[in-house]
Amino acid sequence: MSDFLQPRSLAQALEERAAHLEYQLLAGGTDLLVASKDRLPLLGMIDLMSVSELSGIEEVAGGGLRIGATTSYSKILDSEAIATRFALLHKACREIGAAQIQARGTLGGNIATSSPVGDSLPALMALDAQLELASTRGKRTVPYREFLRGYRKVDMAEDELIVAILLPAQPEGAFHYWRKVGTRRAQSISKLMIAAVGSVQDGKIASAKISLGAVADRTIRLYEVEKAIVGQKPGPETAAIAKEVVRASITPIDDLRSNAEYRLSTAENLVARFVLGLASTVGTTQSPSSAKKNK
């Protein structure tokens, strides 16, 4: 008879995890129960949905947000703070599954599964998210970009849980760009996703964070492209530079869904569109000093 544990607090969940490393952690079940459908009965499960301190969205000092790991996509989509200040995450979550999946699927589950096509992952990476992890041995915080170690491989010990996702404040008036190129809008396995956030000050790109999903074995950040465009004037010339750096810096995977050359040229075009999108924000996101000068 398999065991079904329902801890009522984080402390209890961590104890139960440490005592039963062979059990499966269950959140919304939208990955796990699909994968375990045809398998023999499991040894046991630890239900994280019963731990209320693992869910919810709260403000943190400095204008950031803390999102509990078992917060569902529908709660994320209902959050005004996310829709307005972290639009990138809102846009990414809008396209995950249909209503039934959004009601149950959780951000923590998407991160732990770490599929190369996980939709929230590029948004988290471009927003410089940090993860709060815990075990009975203690708590630690890791930048999301370091948490990803390879194809479905993450920096999580077998006794650890993802407790929360921390989003730092984004530049005021930043441009949030999200596109998913896939075959069907809802419930599709995406071919390519771009998540990017950038700001323009005094006619120059002041910051740019660009992440791509489904082009490599894991979600990636385009640091070289970011470096090449920061300080430049947003517009067609900078977009052309960005395209060249994209081509030089990534080697997309070739698989059945979409071949490597298609992915590469799509990635180039999407990055270029982000740069052009930044150009269209000029005039709306001036620095306080230049705004005064214009008066």
Binding site: S2, T30, Q100, R104
Partner: protein, 154 residues
């Protein structure tokens, strides 16, 4: 484990393994056969039920997770012999043919109209995109839901 759950307003109990799919427990333990299995993988919505008012796929929920919670299944939608307006509209508009998707479609439509009473036709299609129908081509379903929406307004 012992599971206590309120189904369609009635308190029910069952002793079973917590990891079993809610879908199987509804059908095999509670003899509520209105909830259908299509894909068993979260893709089709045939197994849709409402959990604490939220629209969910019962094939992707471990029954232990509904302990102490309340559910609405298709059996709870009609009021005695009187069908819910959405059910009646699905019949009137030919939105139900083979019927496999219909319980899920009806419950998802109920959820959608409660969540967004003024949703546009396009938005309703989006809210109901997790319910696949192989027979009707959707137009009849959408027409039925829109008519139920208008009926609720007047």
């Amino acid at each position: 484990m012992k599971i206590e759950v309120t189904i369609n307003g009635e308190k029910r109990q069952v002793e079973t393994a917590g990891h079993r799919r809610l879908l199987d427990v509804l059908r095999d333990e509670f003899a509520l056969f209105g909830t259908k299995e299509g894909c068993g993988e979260g893709e089709c919505g045939a197994c849709t039920v409402l959990l604490e008012g939220e629209v969910v796929n019962s094939c992707l929920i471990a029954v232990g997770q509904v302990n102490g919670k309340s559910l609405t299944t298709i059996e709870g939608m009609a009021d005695g012999q009187t069908l819910h307006v959405i059910q009646q509209a699905l019949i009137d508009f030919g939105g139900a043919q083979c019927g496999i998707c219909t319980p899920g479609v009806a419950l998802c439509a109920k959820w959608a109209l409660e969540k967004e009473p003024n949703a546009s036709k396009e938005r309703l299609r989006e809210l109901m995109s997790g319910n696949i129908c192989r027979c009707t081509g959707y137009q009849a379903i959408v027409d039925a839901v829109v008519s139920a929406q208008e009926g609720a307004d007047s």
